[in-house]
Symmetry: C3
């Protein structure tokens, strides 16, 4: 199924509106192109509803948010809901400041999301309404492990049930769940956490995948998560002794660019629970 889902992205070439942070925005744009979609970035309140209208899907990322862009996120999210466009939320740093937690909670209340993708600390913050995220990285205490995996899957399914969104919790083991079914994905490489914005890139790409596969949000999100992890594996095989996180960043985007649906089908490592 991952193969068909990825083929749909490449053949439909969906246009994705991104309201995202200025740290990783360039990588987000390039990876959206690499996977077969097209990005547009726009965050002014006087154009976001209109830009969302000409697009096929929306990605809202709250990193480097401010009062001006928060208003735009709400406007674009509501317009996308009106138009029945898929919407992805990346609650970057929810739990790290009251502003980020409050903004994420307000977005959850006023916008219906198709997928919510974050690290475990961010998702726990959204589920409980408060949190202790360590900056923009997951807290070690929260980590998904083989030991707590069943518990974490149950948590993801329950939060999916509550929000009506597919929940994608990414880390060493990724969980992508709706209220009844969860994909546990074991693609990826530890070095991916040495690059800023692999999560942001994945959220942008997830928006492309769910937009091209509107009837299969769970499978589309799982495919995007698996593709990102597999790209991390492929890219890592290219690294020479002197390469570091900057070259790795480029190679991951390159790997998405060169990945065929067949390659992904073979490379994907997951189980359904």
């Amino acid at each position: 199924m991952f193969k068909t889902i990825f083929e749909n992205v490449r053949s439909k070439n969906p246009l994705i509106h991104n309201i995202t942070n200025y740290v990783t925005v360039n990588d987000c744009a390039n990876i959206v192109i690499a996977c077969g979609a097209a990005p547009i970035m726009a965050d002014d309140k006087n154009e976001v509803a209109e830009i969302t209208s000409i697009c096929n899907g929306l990605n809202i990322n709250i990193g480097t948010l401010n009062s001006r862009t928060i208003e735009s996120m709400l406007l674009a999210g509501k317009k996308a809901n009106e138009l029945n466009h898929p919407v992805v939320l990346d609650p970057v740093g929810a739990g790290a400041s009251q502003l980020r937690t409050d903004t994420a909670m307000q977005l959850l209340q006023e916008v219906k999301f198709t997928v919510i993708r974050g690290n475990i600390s961010e998702i726990k913050t959204l589920a409980s309404g408060s949190g202790t995220t360590k900056g923009v990285d997951a807290d070690v205490a929260d980590k998904v492990t083989e030991e707590n995996l069943n518990e974490m899957i149950a948590f993801a399914k329950a939060f999916a049930e509550k929000t009506g969104a597919v929940i994608a919790i990414t880390g060493a083991i990724d969980i992508v769940a709706d209220s009844t079914k969860a994909y546990c994905i074991r693609n990826g490489h530890p070095m991916m956490s040495a690059i800023t914005g692999t999560g942001c890139q994945l959220s942008a790409m997830t928006a492309a995948f769910v937009t091209a596969n509107p009837d299969y949000p769970l499978e589309a999100a799982a495919t995007a998560v698996s593709a990102m992890g597999y790209a991390g594996e492929v890219a890592h095989t290219r690294l020479t002794e002197m390469d570091g996180n900057s070259t790795y960043r480029n190679y991951i985007i390159d790997a998405i660019y060169n990945m065929t649906p067949e390659m992904l089908e073979k490379g994907a490592k997951y189980e359904v629970r």
Copy 2:
């Protein structure tokens, strides 16, 4: 002539003020350095006029515009006109939202531009005052082809006549025209469209080229367009099987860095009509 024009950029090292979007700004800065000029990015209304004054040329790019930066674009543009500095407009996404179309039209009315560079959909939007740009990419229906080339050249010349600016329409075939003369440039590689911001980079570089060659805006813009396309060709020859759009992005900037005026003179593919 392209050789002399490029030599002037490298020898004069013009300082270029860029008010540009946060998506591709880093690549714009690096390519401006790569071609032999120096960039400064500043977008606050309380400093843009002063920053423009210490610079030699100005590049205004409306991607990710907002009410704060629109005001700054107008202030900087007017100051540059006062000082007789070359000014380039990149109307990113004009036609994709009313805000972008209106802003581009207001800039055209209040600022005299030396060069306007965009894709065909953006330029058509400016010429007609409204448009249907598909996001930030050109609409397929608008595409410049060998079949409609004469018509498009006439369109470019007429719009150059109307605005007093050199018009650079870039795509598979590039047209760079003033009211009486047009360069049709056939450098470039289709994969360039798989990178975000090659257009933005070209606009920033065009500002450097026209600033270093104030008496030859048409030839300077044509040289910049040709150099960007030729860099795309050179960079493409370096790509291995596993390289994708991210590595290609780096190699294009590298190719500008290593391009000599002699190489460009030989590599440029154009005709004058």
Copy 3:
């Protein structure tokens, strides 16, 4: 000593709050990770004090400043002072506009900095309260040379005395001084000036180094400066004929990622005066 200082960064993994420009922010984040620390970027007045509180150190960079972010810089700087967190100032373009000079002077008055890092024109502007910085690069007339080195060291020590901050003046020869002692560092490569943001990256990394070594701000800043220069040397040895400033940018971050404290100890070139 450089070895121990670098080891502390890698073992303590400090979290660094960056309020920085949108031109080079991605490279700043990636180099902070590369050196062993963790970055968070946040610039809204409603969260900066809180974000600073969960971090261990703060980096304030005034490139692409605006009225909104200036307020945030002051709030974050004061909160960091309250908490006794190290704070680095990068006065990008001070002297190039009144707004930048005034903002830098106001920051100096209201915030106590641990390190101030800039090029010689920027630092001279801060010391005198006015200046003639050529854009964001140092003015040639200001350049630190073997001939004026003693004078420049005296200047740096005097300004360190006045501000209570370690002063890091970077260029072909780097000077890192407190009121009584100066490191003259001769690492680096001239091609580093062909990349946008090597200075910004160094400031972000300096924040990580002083945060992990709170009792040795002078040595920590000198180590960061030396590491950046040495990375420029190592990265340069990798360049092939077709590589330019964009690949070089990636390789410098890669070199920091792969640099061990032992390698730095051997590669550092400095004298104490």
